[in-house]
Amino acid sequence: MPWRLATAGITRQEQSLIQSAVSLYLSGSGWQFSHDPGDADVVIVGPQLRDPGSVARNAVRVRVTDGPCEREETHLRRPVRYRELLRTLRALSSGETVTSDRSGAPGDTILALVHRAIDAGGIHYIDHEAFAPVRIDADAGFYSVFGGRQLPVTYFREPAGRFTASARHRQETAGAWSEPRRLEGLRWTAALHAGGGSLLPPLNPDSVIGLIRWPDFSRLPHAPAHMRLAACLHRRPAALGDVARETGHGKAEVADFINAARELGLVRIEAEAGRRATGRNTQPLGLVSRIRMRLSGLGDHHRGECP
Protein backbone atom coordinates (compact mmCIF):
# COMPACT_ATOMS: atom_id res chain seq x y z
CA MET A 1 0.00 0.00 0.00
CA PRO A 2 1.68 3.28 -1.06
CA TRP A 3 1.97 6.39 1.08
CA ARG A 4 -0.37 8.98 -0.43
CA LEU A 5 1.03 12.49 -0.30
CA ALA A 6 -1.02 15.61 -0.93
CA THR A 7 -0.53 19.35 -0.48
CA ALA A 8 -2.79 22.11 0.78
CA GLY A 9 -2.36 25.85 1.07
CA ILE A 10 1.07 26.10 -0.53
CA THR A 11 2.18 27.96 -3.64
CA ARG A 12 1.80 26.48 -7.11
CA GLN A 13 5.59 26.33 -7.51
CA GLU A 14 5.99 24.46 -4.23
CA GLN A 15 3.25 22.05 -5.22
CA SER A 16 4.84 21.29 -8.57
CA LEU A 17 8.26 20.79 -6.93
CA ILE A 18 6.77 18.35 -4.42
CA GLN A 19 4.79 16.52 -7.10
CA SER A 20 7.86 16.08 -9.29
CA ALA A 21 9.99 14.98 -6.32
CA VAL A 22 7.48 12.25 -5.52
CA SER A 23 7.22 10.97 -9.08
CA LEU A 24 10.96 11.24 -9.81
CA TYR A 25 12.54 10.02 -6.60
CA LEU A 26 9.98 8.48 -4.30
CA SER A 27 7.60 6.41 -6.40
CA GLY A 28 10.04 3.50 -6.22
CA SER A 29 10.01 3.60 -2.43
CA GLY A 30 6.25 3.46 -2.08
CA TRP A 31 5.11 7.10 -2.35
CA GLN A 32 2.29 8.34 -4.57
CA PHE A 33 1.14 11.93 -5.16
CA SER A 34 -2.55 12.54 -4.52
CA HIS A 35 -4.57 15.65 -5.42
CA ASP A 36 -7.01 15.01 -2.59
CA PRO A 37 -5.81 16.08 0.90
CA GLY A 38 -8.91 14.45 2.36
CA ASP A 39 -7.65 11.05 1.29
CA ALA A 40 -3.89 11.35 1.97
CA ASP A 41 -1.61 9.80 4.56
CA VAL A 42 0.73 12.77 4.57
CA VAL A 43 -0.26 16.35 3.76
CA ILE A 44 2.18 19.17 3.26
CA VAL A 45 0.36 22.26 4.47
CA GLY A 46 1.20 25.93 4.09
CA PRO A 47 -0.12 29.12 5.70
CA GLN A 48 -2.62 29.61 2.86
CA LEU A 49 -4.65 26.60 3.96
CA ARG A 50 -8.21 27.96 4.09
CA ASP A 51 -10.17 24.90 5.08
CA PRO A 52 -8.38 22.72 7.68
CA GLY A 53 -11.28 20.28 7.47
CA SER A 54 -10.26 19.36 3.94
CA VAL A 55 -7.23 17.52 5.30
CA ALA A 56 -7.76 13.90 6.35
CA ARG A 57 -8.13 13.68 10.14
CA ASN A 58 -5.43 11.04 10.57
CA ALA A 59 -2.99 12.47 8.05
CA VAL A 60 0.52 13.37 9.13
CA ARG A 61 0.95 17.11 8.57
CA VAL A 62 4.20 18.58 7.40
CA ARG A 63 4.06 22.33 7.80
CA VAL A 64 5.77 24.63 5.30
CA THR A 65 6.91 27.67 7.22
CA ASP A 66 8.86 30.89 6.96
CA GLY A 67 9.38 31.19 10.68
CA PRO A 68 10.00 29.04 13.75
CA CYS A 69 8.00 25.92 14.45
CA GLU A 70 7.07 23.85 17.43
CA ARG A 71 10.04 21.64 18.25
CA GLU A 72 8.28 18.34 17.80
CA GLU A 73 6.39 19.38 14.69
CA THR A 74 7.53 17.99 11.37
CA HIS A 75 8.13 20.91 9.04
CA LEU A 76 9.94 22.22 6.01
CA ARG A 77 11.55 25.62 5.91
CA ARG A 78 11.02 27.91 2.94
CA PRO A 79 12.29 27.85 0.28
CA VAL A 80 11.43 24.19 -0.04
CA ARG A 81 14.35 22.26 -1.55
CA TYR A 82 14.43 18.84 -3.10
CA ARG A 83 16.98 17.32 -0.76
CA GLU A 84 15.32 18.60 2.40
CA LEU A 85 11.94 17.40 1.15
CA LEU A 86 13.25 13.93 0.28
CA ARG A 87 15.03 13.63 3.60
CA THR A 88 11.88 14.60 5.47
CA LEU A 89 9.63 12.19 3.62
CA ARG A 90 12.07 9.31 3.93
CA ALA A 91 12.42 9.99 7.61
CA LEU A 92 8.63 10.00 7.95
CA SER A 93 8.35 6.60 6.30
CA SER A 94 10.84 5.26 8.83
CA GLY A 95 8.78 6.62 11.70
CA GLU A 96 11.04 9.52 12.69
CA THR A 97 9.98 13.01 13.68
CA VAL A 98 11.88 15.62 11.73
CA THR A 99 12.61 18.77 13.66
CA SER A 100 15.44 20.22 11.62
CA ASP A 101 15.35 23.98 11.64
CA ARG A 102 17.95 24.57 8.97
CA SER A 103 16.94 26.33 5.82
CA GLY A 104 19.58 24.66 3.65
CA ALA A 105 19.73 21.12 2.39
CA PRO A 106 21.37 18.52 4.63
CA GLY A 107 25.09 18.51 4.12
CA ASP A 108 24.94 22.00 2.69
CA THR A 109 26.94 23.45 5.58
CA ILE A 110 30.58 24.32 6.09
CA LEU A 111 31.25 20.76 4.89
CA ALA A 112 30.32 21.75 1.33
CA LEU A 113 32.85 24.60 1.40
CA VAL A 114 35.55 22.37 2.83
CA HIS A 115 34.93 19.90 0.00
CA ARG A 116 35.22 22.68 -2.56
CA ALA A 117 38.49 23.84 -1.02
CA ILE A 118 39.92 20.32 -1.05
CA ASP A 119 38.85 19.78 -4.66
CA ALA A 120 40.43 23.06 -5.75
CA GLY A 121 43.67 22.55 -3.78
CA GLY A 122 45.89 25.34 -2.45
CA ILE A 123 45.02 27.83 0.30
CA HIS A 124 41.42 28.90 0.99
CA TYR A 125 39.81 31.14 3.56
CA ILE A 126 36.32 30.70 4.93
CA ASP A 127 34.62 33.61 6.69
CA HIS A 128 31.46 33.99 8.70
CA GLU A 129 30.39 37.23 10.32
CA ALA A 130 29.85 35.61 13.71
CA PHE A 131 32.84 33.28 13.87
CA ALA A 132 36.61 33.32 13.53
CA PRO A 133 37.94 32.94 9.97
CA VAL A 134 39.33 29.55 8.96
CA ARG A 135 42.25 28.96 6.62
CA ILE A 136 42.43 25.64 4.78
CA ASP A 137 45.67 24.38 3.29
CA ALA A 138 44.17 21.68 1.11
CA ASP A 139 47.48 20.40 -0.25
CA ALA A 140 49.12 19.98 3.16
CA GLY A 141 45.93 18.62 4.75
CA PHE A 142 45.78 21.18 7.56
CA TYR A 143 43.59 24.07 8.67
CA SER A 144 44.02 26.97 11.07
CA VAL A 145 41.60 29.20 12.94
CA PHE A 146 42.27 32.92 13.22
CA GLY A 147 43.14 33.89 16.77
CA GLY A 148 43.67 30.24 17.66
CA ARG A 149 40.10 29.87 18.85
CA GLN A 150 38.03 26.69 18.98
CA LEU A 151 35.13 26.37 16.58
CA PRO A 152 31.88 25.84 18.49
CA VAL A 153 29.28 23.29 17.48
CA THR A 154 26.98 26.08 16.26
CA TYR A 155 29.57 26.96 13.61
CA PHE A 156 29.11 23.57 11.97
CA ARG A 157 25.33 23.92 11.88
CA GLU A 158 25.31 27.17 9.94
CA PRO A 159 24.00 26.92 6.35
CA ALA A 160 26.67 27.20 3.69
CA GLY A 161 25.04 30.38 2.38
CA ARG A 162 26.16 32.29 5.46
CA PHE A 163 29.84 31.65 4.79
CA THR A 164 32.04 33.32 2.23
CA ALA A 165 35.07 31.62 0.70
CA SER A 166 38.04 33.29 -0.94
CA ALA A 167 41.66 32.70 -1.91
CA ARG A 168 42.93 35.87 -0.17
CA HIS A 169 42.32 37.17 3.30
CA ARG A 170 42.43 40.61 4.85
CA GLN A 171 43.58 39.22 8.21
CA GLU A 172 46.57 37.38 6.80
CA THR A 173 49.10 38.35 9.44
CA ALA A 174 51.88 36.24 10.86
CA GLY A 175 51.29 34.71 14.24
CA ALA A 176 47.55 35.38 14.35
CA TRP A 177 46.50 31.98 13.04
CA SER A 178 46.45 28.87 15.19
CA GLU A 179 48.99 26.11 14.76
CA PRO A 180 47.97 23.92 11.80
CA ARG A 181 45.43 21.27 12.76
CA ARG A 182 44.66 18.14 10.82
CA LEU A 183 41.98 18.68 8.19
CA GLU A 184 40.46 15.30 9.08
CA GLY A 185 39.32 16.84 12.36
CA LEU A 186 37.47 19.64 10.56
CA ARG A 187 35.94 17.25 8.04
CA TRP A 188 34.88 14.83 10.79
CA THR A 189 33.20 17.51 12.90
CA ALA A 190 31.59 19.21 9.90
CA ALA A 191 30.16 15.91 8.68
CA LEU A 192 29.03 15.01 12.20
CA HIS A 193 26.71 18.03 12.17
CA ALA A 194 25.89 18.23 8.47
CA GLY A 195 22.98 15.79 8.45
CA GLY A 196 21.20 17.24 11.47
CA GLY A 197 20.43 13.75 12.76
CA SER A 198 19.69 12.15 9.39
CA LEU A 199 21.87 10.18 7.03
CA LEU A 200 23.30 12.21 4.19
CA PRO A 201 22.60 10.99 0.64
CA PRO A 202 23.15 8.50 -0.83
CA LEU A 203 22.71 6.69 2.48
CA ASN A 204 19.20 6.08 3.72
CA PRO A 205 17.75 4.27 6.73
CA ASP A 206 17.64 1.00 4.78
CA SER A 207 21.31 1.12 3.78
CA VAL A 208 23.27 -1.68 5.40
CA ILE A 209 26.46 -0.04 6.59
CA GLY A 210 29.73 -1.45 7.84
CA LEU A 211 32.78 0.24 9.30
CA ILE A 212 35.97 -0.60 7.39
CA ARG A 213 38.28 0.80 10.07
CA TRP A 214 37.87 2.55 13.38
CA PRO A 215 38.14 6.33 13.29
CA ASP A 216 41.42 7.59 14.74
CA PHE A 217 39.84 8.49 18.07
CA SER A 218 43.10 9.56 19.64
CA ARG A 219 43.23 12.45 17.13
CA LEU A 220 39.54 13.15 16.46
CA PRO A 221 37.02 14.90 18.70
CA HIS A 222 34.58 12.28 19.85
CA ALA A 223 31.82 11.51 22.29
CA PRO A 224 31.69 8.37 24.45
CA ALA A 225 28.88 7.01 22.26
CA HIS A 226 31.15 6.98 19.22
CA MET A 227 33.29 4.18 20.66
CA ARG A 228 30.26 1.97 21.13
CA LEU A 229 28.91 2.79 17.66
CA ALA A 230 32.29 2.02 16.09
CA ALA A 231 32.51 -1.31 17.90
CA CYS A 232 28.99 -2.24 16.84
CA LEU A 233 29.40 -1.27 13.16
CA HIS A 234 32.91 -2.68 12.86
CA ARG A 235 31.84 -6.05 14.13
CA ARG A 236 28.95 -6.51 11.73
CA PRO A 237 27.27 -4.29 9.10
CA ALA A 238 23.78 -3.11 9.96
CA ALA A 239 21.05 -0.65 9.04
CA LEU A 240 20.56 2.55 11.02
CA GLY A 241 17.62 1.33 13.06
CA ASP A 242 19.36 -1.92 13.99
CA VAL A 243 22.44 -0.09 15.25
CA ALA A 244 20.23 2.24 17.28
CA ARG A 245 18.42 -0.72 18.81
CA GLU A 246 21.58 -2.67 19.54
CA THR A 247 23.50 0.19 21.10
CA GLY A 248 20.59 1.96 22.76
CA HIS A 249 21.60 5.26 21.14
CA GLY A 250 19.15 7.46 19.22
CA LYS A 251 18.84 7.17 15.46
CA ALA A 252 19.97 10.77 15.09
CA GLU A 253 23.19 10.11 17.00
CA VAL A 254 23.88 6.98 14.96
CA ALA A 255 23.21 8.84 11.69
CA ASP A 256 25.57 11.67 12.66
CA PHE A 257 28.32 9.19 13.48
CA ILE A 258 27.87 7.33 10.20
CA ASN A 259 27.97 10.61 8.25
CA ALA A 260 31.25 11.56 9.92
CA ALA A 261 32.82 8.13 9.41
CA ARG A 262 31.72 8.14 5.78
CA GLU A 263 33.33 11.55 5.27
CA LEU A 264 36.69 10.00 6.16
CA GLY A 265 36.14 6.98 3.91
CA LEU A 266 35.69 4.56 6.80
CA VAL A 267 32.26 3.28 5.81
CA ARG A 268 31.20 0.73 3.26
CA ILE A 269 27.67 0.13 2.03
CA GLU A 270 26.84 -3.54 1.86
CA ALA A 271 25.41 -4.84 -1.39
CA GLU A 272 22.86 -7.01 0.29
CA ALA A 273 20.01 -5.21 1.95
CA GLY A 274 18.94 -7.16 4.95
CA ARG A 275 18.35 -6.75 8.60
CA ARG A 276 20.15 -8.60 11.28
CA ALA A 277 18.34 -10.14 14.14
CA THR A 278 19.59 -8.92 17.44
CA GLY A 279 18.90 -10.37 20.79
CA ARG A 280 21.38 -8.20 22.65
CA ASN A 281 20.24 -6.34 25.68
CA THR A 282 20.73 -2.67 24.87
CA GLN A 283 21.67 -1.90 28.43
CA PRO A 284 25.44 -1.39 28.72
CA LEU A 285 27.22 -4.19 30.54
CA GLY A 286 27.66 -3.54 34.23
CA LEU A 287 31.40 -3.96 34.66
CA VAL A 288 32.11 -2.18 31.38
CA SER A 289 29.90 0.71 32.50
CA ARG A 290 31.76 1.03 35.78
CA ILE A 291 35.15 1.05 34.10
CA ARG A 292 33.98 3.47 31.44
CA MET A 293 32.59 5.83 34.05
CA ARG A 294 35.93 5.82 35.84
CA LEU A 295 37.84 6.40 32.60
CA SER A 296 35.70 9.45 31.84
CA GLY A 297 37.41 11.15 34.76
CA LEU A 298 40.87 10.64 33.26
CA GLY A 299 42.40 12.74 30.49
CA ASP A 300 40.46 15.19 28.31
CA HIS A 301 39.66 12.78 25.54
CA HIS A 302 35.93 13.37 25.20
CA ARG A 303 35.70 16.65 23.42
CA GLY A 304 32.63 17.93 21.66
CA GLU A 305 34.46 20.59 19.71
CA CYS A 306 36.73 20.46 16.77
CA PRO A 307 40.33 20.55 18.00
Partner: protein, 186 residues
Amino acid sequence: MKGEIKIVVTGPMGAGKTTAINALAGDGAVSTDQGASDEVGEVKATTTVAMDYAEIGLDGDERLRIYGTPGQRRFRYMWEILADGALGFIILVDATRKDPAGDMEIYLENFAPFLEKSGAVIGITKQSAGDDAAAALAERLANRGASWPVLPIDPRRQSDVVVALDALMAVLEFGDACDARLREAP
Protein backbone atom coordinates in the same frame (compact mmCIF):
# COMPACT_ATOMS: atom_id res chain seq x y z
CA MET B 1 44.04 -13.82 41.55
CA LYS B 2 41.60 -15.38 39.09
CA GLY B 3 38.73 -13.08 39.98
CA GLU B 4 40.61 -9.83 39.61
CA ILE B 5 39.57 -7.35 36.95
CA LYS B 6 42.62 -6.91 34.81
CA ILE B 7 43.75 -5.57 31.48
CA VAL B 8 47.06 -6.64 29.96
CA VAL B 9 49.24 -4.30 27.93
CA THR B 10 51.62 -6.27 25.75
CA GLY B 11 53.74 -5.90 22.63
CA PRO B 12 57.37 -5.93 21.54
CA MET B 13 60.24 -4.36 23.43
CA GLY B 14 60.33 -0.58 23.08
CA ALA B 15 56.72 -0.23 21.89
CA GLY B 16 55.83 1.93 24.90
CA LYS B 17 54.14 -0.42 27.37
CA THR B 18 55.90 0.94 30.47
CA THR B 19 55.43 4.51 29.22
CA ALA B 20 51.71 3.93 28.66
CA ILE B 21 51.18 2.50 32.14
CA ASN B 22 53.16 5.35 33.69
CA ALA B 23 51.10 7.87 31.73
CA LEU B 24 47.93 6.28 33.03
CA ALA B 25 48.87 5.94 36.66
CA GLY B 26 51.66 8.51 37.12
CA ASP B 27 53.44 7.99 40.44
CA GLY B 28 51.11 5.12 41.27
CA ALA B 29 52.66 2.82 38.66
CA VAL B 30 55.00 0.02 39.70
CA SER B 31 57.73 -1.05 37.32
CA THR B 32 60.32 -3.82 37.28
CA ASP B 33 62.66 -2.14 34.81
CA GLN B 34 66.30 -3.12 35.03
CA GLY B 35 69.32 -1.67 33.30
CA ALA B 36 69.79 -3.42 29.98
CA SER B 37 73.20 -5.01 29.80
CA ASP B 38 72.90 -7.03 26.59
CA GLU B 39 71.97 -6.07 23.02
CA VAL B 40 68.78 -4.52 24.39
CA GLY B 41 70.98 -1.72 25.70
CA GLU B 42 71.49 -0.58 22.14
CA VAL B 43 67.77 0.07 21.85
CA LYS B 44 66.92 1.48 25.27
CA ALA B 45 68.52 2.02 28.66
CA THR B 46 66.21 -0.16 30.74
CA THR B 47 63.87 -3.07 30.06
CA THR B 48 60.99 -4.67 31.95
CA VAL B 49 61.94 -8.05 33.39
CA ALA B 50 58.74 -9.08 35.18
CA MET B 51 55.86 -6.67 34.72
CA ASP B 52 54.56 -3.14 34.98
CA TYR B 53 51.57 -2.54 37.13
CA ALA B 54 49.00 0.16 37.75
CA GLU B 55 45.50 0.19 39.17
CA ILE B 56 42.43 2.34 38.85
CA GLY B 57 39.83 2.38 41.62
CA LEU B 58 36.27 1.60 40.57
CA ASP B 59 33.22 1.57 42.83
CA GLY B 60 33.87 0.61 46.44
CA ASP B 61 36.83 -1.73 46.85
CA GLU B 62 36.83 -2.84 43.22
CA ARG B 63 40.01 -2.11 41.26
CA LEU B 64 40.89 -2.32 37.61
CA ARG B 65 44.42 -3.71 37.48
CA ILE B 66 46.57 -3.01 34.48
CA TYR B 67 49.60 -5.20 33.85
CA GLY B 68 52.33 -4.62 31.32
CA THR B 69 54.19 -7.68 30.13
CA PRO B 70 57.93 -7.79 29.48
CA GLY B 71 58.54 -7.27 25.78
CA GLN B 72 61.47 -9.63 25.39
CA ARG B 73 60.54 -13.16 24.40
CA ARG B 74 62.94 -14.68 26.91
CA PHE B 75 60.58 -13.44 29.61
CA ARG B 76 57.57 -14.99 27.94
CA TYR B 77 56.91 -17.31 30.85
CA MET B 78 55.44 -14.17 32.41
CA TRP B 79 53.06 -13.65 29.50
CA GLU B 80 50.75 -16.55 30.35
CA ILE B 81 50.84 -15.81 34.05
CA LEU B 82 49.76 -12.24 33.44
CA ALA B 83 47.26 -13.06 30.70
CA ASP B 84 45.36 -15.65 32.70
CA GLY B 85 41.93 -14.23 33.55
CA ALA B 86 42.47 -10.93 31.73
CA LEU B 87 39.36 -9.07 30.66
CA GLY B 88 41.08 -7.70 27.56
CA PHE B 89 44.37 -6.79 25.93
CA ILE B 90 46.05 -3.71 24.54
CA ILE B 91 48.73 -4.77 22.07
CA LEU B 92 51.20 -1.97 21.38
CA VAL B 93 53.15 -2.12 18.14
CA ASP B 94 56.09 0.13 17.24
CA ALA B 95 55.51 1.62 13.76
CA THR B 96 59.23 2.26 13.27
CA ARG B 97 60.23 -1.39 13.47
CA LYS B 98 60.91 -3.41 10.36
CA ASP B 99 57.67 -5.38 10.29
CA PRO B 100 55.00 -3.95 12.62
CA ALA B 101 52.33 -6.29 11.22
CA GLY B 102 54.61 -9.27 11.86
CA ASP B 103 55.20 -8.05 15.42
CA MET B 104 51.47 -7.84 15.96
CA GLU B 105 51.01 -11.38 14.65
CA ILE B 106 53.50 -12.73 17.22
CA TYR B 107 51.39 -11.41 20.06
CA LEU B 108 48.11 -12.47 18.47
CA GLU B 109 49.48 -16.01 18.18
CA ASN B 110 50.98 -16.16 21.64
CA PHE B 111 47.90 -14.82 23.34
CA ALA B 112 45.42 -16.58 21.05
CA PRO B 113 43.83 -18.81 23.73
CA PHE B 114 43.18 -15.77 25.90
CA LEU B 115 42.10 -13.46 23.05
CA GLU B 116 39.44 -15.94 21.97
CA LYS B 117 37.60 -15.34 25.22
CA SER B 118 38.18 -11.63 25.48
CA GLY B 119 39.06 -8.82 23.06
CA ALA B 120 41.87 -6.50 22.11
CA VAL B 121 42.84 -3.09 20.86
CA ILE B 122 45.95 -2.58 18.77
CA GLY B 123 47.78 0.63 19.62
CA ILE B 124 50.33 1.70 17.07
CA THR B 125 53.04 3.90 18.53
CA LYS B 126 55.73 6.18 17.05
CA GLN B 127 53.71 6.61 13.88
CA SER B 128 54.85 9.71 12.02
CA ALA B 129 52.57 12.01 10.03
CA GLY B 130 51.85 10.58 6.62
CA ASP B 131 52.78 7.06 7.71
CA ASP B 132 49.78 4.76 7.54
CA ALA B 133 51.03 1.67 9.31
CA ALA B 134 47.65 1.51 11.03
CA ALA B 135 45.98 0.70 7.71
CA ALA B 136 48.28 -2.28 7.09
CA LEU B 137 47.63 -3.61 10.57
CA ALA B 138 43.88 -3.17 10.21
CA GLU B 139 43.97 -5.11 6.95
CA ARG B 140 45.98 -7.91 8.54
CA LEU B 141 43.48 -8.08 11.41
CA ALA B 142 40.54 -8.14 9.00
CA ASN B 143 42.16 -11.07 7.18
CA ARG B 144 42.21 -12.91 10.49
CA GLY B 145 38.52 -12.15 10.98
CA ALA B 146 39.19 -9.95 14.01
CA SER B 147 37.13 -6.76 14.30
CA TRP B 148 39.42 -4.98 16.71
CA PRO B 149 40.44 -1.33 16.37
CA VAL B 150 43.90 -0.18 15.38
CA LEU B 151 44.49 3.22 16.96
CA PRO B 152 47.59 5.37 16.57
CA ILE B 153 48.52 6.37 20.11
CA ASP B 154 51.23 8.32 21.84
CA PRO B 155 51.90 6.29 25.01
CA ARG B 156 53.22 9.40 26.75
CA ARG B 157 49.77 10.99 26.63
CA GLN B 158 47.34 9.85 29.27
CA SER B 159 44.40 10.82 27.08
CA ASP B 160 45.62 8.49 24.31
CA VAL B 161 45.94 5.56 26.71
CA VAL B 162 42.45 6.29 28.04
CA VAL B 163 41.13 6.28 24.45
CA ALA B 164 42.64 2.81 23.96
CA LEU B 165 41.05 1.57 27.18
CA ASP B 166 37.74 3.13 26.23
CA ALA B 167 37.88 1.44 22.83
CA LEU B 168 38.65 -1.86 24.55
CA MET B 169 35.54 -1.47 26.70
CA ALA B 170 33.45 -0.99 23.55
CA VAL B 171 35.04 -4.05 21.94
CA LEU B 172 34.27 -6.14 25.03
CA GLU B 173 30.71 -4.91 25.06
CA PHE B 174 29.94 -5.68 21.42
CA GLY B 175 32.40 -8.46 20.66
CA ASP B 176 32.43 -12.16 21.41
CA ALA B 177 33.98 -11.87 24.86
CA CYS B 178 32.46 -14.56 27.04
CA ASP B 179 33.83 -13.51 30.41
CA ALA B 180 31.03 -14.00 32.91
CA ARG B 181 32.02 -10.84 34.75
CA LEU B 182 30.93 -8.81 31.69
CA ARG B 183 27.40 -10.15 32.04
CA GLU B 184 26.88 -8.78 35.52
CA ALA B 185 23.85 -6.57 35.90
CA PRO B 186 24.67 -2.85 35.67
